[in-house]
Subunit: 117 residues, 2 copies
DNA sequence: GGATAATGATACGGGTCCGTAACGATCTGG
DNA sequence: CCAGATCGTTACGGACCCGTATCATTATCC
């Protein structure tokens, strides 16, 4: 069954979740950083800089910088690929998994509240 | 009727929409900027710097700077309040309304695709 | 009218990020 | 084994944003 949601409900949901993210003092992630984080945690490994750049349609330095920040926040890690030492593999962390899980719960909770608008 | 969505579906939806936002070359808004934009467009006017700061739980300079950027992007405007000239009223723009509408449609479309996971 | 309060903007030093270009390290193929 | 391709990172000048503190402007209230 497809997920039914009207644009007006979608916008209210989008606002409520973003409000919560801001108010909870979470890191103020940009859309790019969020896309990278969720791709790493939802899609099958391995994840590389080049692969992420291709998926997001941005240049490699953009990914490198985003990984710097997300790494500093503890949301993911980098590791050299020993098979092909040119590659860097992006790995998940416990803190990152918790943050992603929290986001999923947040969206689900607010979706419940939205109900009939 | 409450809106039913599982955390795993919510996360996939969140990722898909963010991927689209990044790929479409939209402005790379932060969570704060998104929260401000949606608040202005979904909640009843008037909107002031102080009011937004209170709602988001951040300081006034944060709002001022976000309004600078969102204004530069043409997504909203500021106008001095003639009733009480200390206040600045944040106003909607055509471009901003279109961007918000687009976001609503984007979420709705991806929600349809999510369906049974 | 003058002290007080309230509003939004600004200054500051420091961090992040941009796009473009170049870089070192590593693998690959003739 | 060495030229070329590929990988991720770094350098650059410029822009944005941070939090804290302070600012000028305007309103309020005795």
């Amino acid at each position: 069954m497809p997920l039914e949601i009207r644009p007006s409900q979608a916008l209210r949901l989008w606002r409520q979740v973003h409000l919560d993210l801001v108010r909870d003092g979470q890191a103020d992630l940009s859309a790019r950083q969020t896309a990278i984080l969720l791709t790493v945690y939802l899609e099958l490994p391995p994840h590389t800089v080049r692969g992420l750049a291709r998926q997001l349609g941005v240049t490699k330095p953009v990914i490198t910088r985003a990984l710097d920040t997300l790494g500093k926040l503890g949301l993911l890690t980098r590791k050299r690929d020993e098979e092909d030492r040119r590659n860097v593999v992006i790995q998940r962390t416990v803190a990152g998994a918790l943050a992603v899980e929290r986001l999923g719960d947040l969206v689900t909770e607010h979706a419940k509240e939205i109900g009939a608008s």
